[in-house]
């Protein structure tokens, strides 16, 4: 009877145990890696950046103005035609903070001399694409910027502007 069973099953007891230990070890490695990744996963930043920022009343930003929100890491642009746009201050080249230079009417990055026009389009490389933006919505006359989602874009397009 026992001889019959060994003939029928190709897998010996030793092989079964070897395979089992191997499979369980692989599973353990996967579990530990997964757990480590979860343990070390990016933590969102505290405070203003990473949440909704109430920028202020629509009327407090004259058309053609650019206002910096250092805690929210963005510039609120009120374009000359009346549309709002919030650009992330991080240069798309290597992450330095751009500054608004009213005299030249552009954003300038001191790290590698990239510059961007008033709507964030690349004026001077090496920056590869326009400044990233945050979603803007207007609620009861207040301009609200959602800094939790960074939107990338290659160029400025008129539909990126939000009107009151």
């Amino acid at each position: 009877m026992s001889e019959q069973t060994t003939e029928k099953t190709k897998l010996s007891r030793r092989d079964f145990l070897k395979l089992g230990v191997g499979a369980l070890s692989a599973l353990a490695v996967l579990e530990v890696s997964g757990a480590s990744l979860l343990f070390l996963q990016p933590r969102s930043l505290d405070g203003e950046f990473g949440g909704q920022v109430i920028a202020g009343l629509v009327d407090s930003f004259p058309p053609g103005s650019v206002v910096e929100f250092p805690d929210g890491r963005f510039y609120l642009i009120h374009a000359p035609d009346g549309g709002f746009l919030a650009v992330y201050r991080r240069c798309t080249h290597l992450g330095c903070s751009v500054s608004w230079e009213p005299a030249q009417n552009h954003f300038f990055c001191p790290c590698h001399a990239s510059s961007f026009d008033i709507v964030g389009d690349v004026e001077n490389p090496p920056a590869p694409r326009a400044l990233d933006t945050f979603p803007v919505h207007i609620d009861a006359g207040q301009v609200i910027v959602d800094t939790s989602s960074i939107q990338t874009r290659d160029n400025f397009a008129p539909d990126q502007l939000v009107y009151a």
Binding site: L45, H93, L94, S97, C109, H112, P125
Partner: protein, 446 residues
């Protein structure tokens, strides 16, 4: 003399025996001889062969571990308190400034000695005759040293630290598909902040030291396993003089370590480690430069798309890993530059690089504008893949030039190529340190 009558000094250094034979037996279980063999070939002890670079690097590593452990007692890895704790260390803590200066300057010097050690080993063919594994372990150790420096750089949380790490990690996001995810994982978020400081601190004081100690032990063990450091092959019947490790090798090692430590103490006593203003995430410094040993790479960034500027050092590193499999000629091991022809080619290669690199930098800065010449192409190709292909083509041309006009063999031509790459890296680094001013424009340093 019985065991019990020996002084501690005699026990440690085995100085009671007078003849070589009994000395060798006595020292068989000596601690030092776990590291070194009992006898070493006399030519391997020549200072002008090794320049003591491996030993100096090991001494620096030890000094860095000791000073690093001391610093952890006073350093606070939080955004609010990191900078203050460094200021406190500099001004209030007894010997705080000295310990930090020792740590800082040793770390900088270690980059230099580790790099020079790599150059020495390459030029004398130290990766040959079964030493390929240890060559690769050495490369891993170099990467560990660089990672140590990169993570340690952020910890003071000053302007220099903040922007160097911001620029350095932003580079990662140009790696296709996984880049941004890896950068976010490393920083613990989209920007350099509290999570990044914590991560870097943990990597710097726990992960990397563990890796370093493991790889260093492996490296030393492998040197013995491979039959000692590289030496020229002996002629049939030729006998190389062999000297006992104690005292001949150990004396040199202790003397070199003592001079190094003394020099560092004097230097650190007079030159404190730099500390700039508190990190300000709204206002980058102008110019925002990386640490000096990354300025060669940063200089590349000014001329190429970041992906190309990352690929080029990656390809060169890959070539370094492959060197033992490219240069298999083993009879020229243990001789600087392989041969007289190799020496001549090395000199030529250095001259080519000195002539060519500054010229190319000036050309690209003032006249050449590839994206404007090729307006239809995305910048990744016009400013990235095309300059990368041109650079690699140039390197291949240098190699072929040595092979044809100088009639060099493969081994000698590779020496030429290696020297060309190293001198180019040195020149790019010097340009980055001294000739880049505000907005990273070319300036004169005086």
């Amino acid at each position: 003399m019985s065991e019990n009558n020996q002084t501690w000094r005699q026990r440690i250094f085995y100085t009671t025996q007078t003849d070589d034979r009994s000395r060798m037996r006595a020292v068989a279980n000596n601690l030092i001889l776990h590291l070194h063999p009992t006898k070493v070939p006399a030519p391997a002890l020549r200072w002008t062969y090794t320049w003591g670079l491996g030993g100096l690097s090991a001494t620096l590593a030890l000094l860095l571990i000791i000073t690093g452990v001391i610093l952890t007692f006073r350093y606070d890895a939080s955004v609010e308190r990191a900078y203050t704790s460094i200021q406190y260390l500099e001004t209030q803590v007894a010997f705080g400034s000295l310990v930090r200066a020792l740590h800082h300057w040793s770390a900088n010097l270690l980059v230099v000695t580790a790099f020079l050690h790599l150059i020495r080993v390459f030029l004398t063919g130290g990766f040959k005759l079964g030493r390929s594994t240890n060559w690769i372990i050495g490369l891993v150790l170099l990467l560990i040293v660089v990672a140590f420096n990169f993570t340690g750089y952020l910890l003071p949380w000053d302007q220099l630290a903040y922007w160097a790490i911001t620029v350095g990690t932003s580079l990662l996001s140009y790696v296709p598909l996984v880049g941004t995810a890896v950068a976010n994982f490393l920083l613990g978020g989209p920007e350099v902040g509290q999570a990044a400081l914590r991560n870097f601190y943990a990597i710097h004081v726990a992960v990397l030291p563990a890796l370093l100690v493991m790889m260093m032990s492996y490296h030393f063990w492998k040197v013995r396993k491979d039959g000692g450091i590289s030496q020229p092959p002996t002629e049939p019947g030729e006998r190389v003089e062999r000297l006992t490790t104690i005292p001949h090798l150990v004396q040199i090692e202790f003397a070199a370590a003592a001079v190094l430590i003394l020099g560092l103490f004097v230097w650190a006593a007079f030159v404190p480690a730099p500390l700039e203003a508190l990190a300000d995430p709204s206002h980058p410094t102008n110019p925002a430069k990386a640490a000096w040993y990354f300025l060669g790479l940063q200089e590349l960034l000014l001329h190429m798309h970041p992906l190309a500027a990352l690929l080029l050092p990656g390809i060169i590193l890959g070539a370094f890993v492959a060197i033992p499999y490219l240069d298999k000629q083993e009879d020229n091991i243990g001789r600087y530059f392989r041969s007289a022809v190799g020496k001549q080619i090395a000199l030529l290669a250095a001259l080519y690089a000195i002539g060519l690199i500054p010229l190319l930098v000036l050309l690209d800065e003032y006249w050449l504008d590839l994206p404007a010449l090729l307006p239809g192409l995305p910048t990744l190709i016009s400013n990235g893949l095309i300059p990368l292909a041109l650079t690699l083509g140039g390197l291949a041309a240098v190699y072929l030039l040595f092979r044809t006009t100088n009639k060099a063999n493969k081994s000698e031509a590779l020496v030429g190529l290696f020297v060309f790459v190293m001198v180019s890296l040195l020149l790019l680094t010097l340009i980055g340190i001294f000739f880049r001013g505000p907005n990273m424009a070319l300036v004169l340093p005086f």
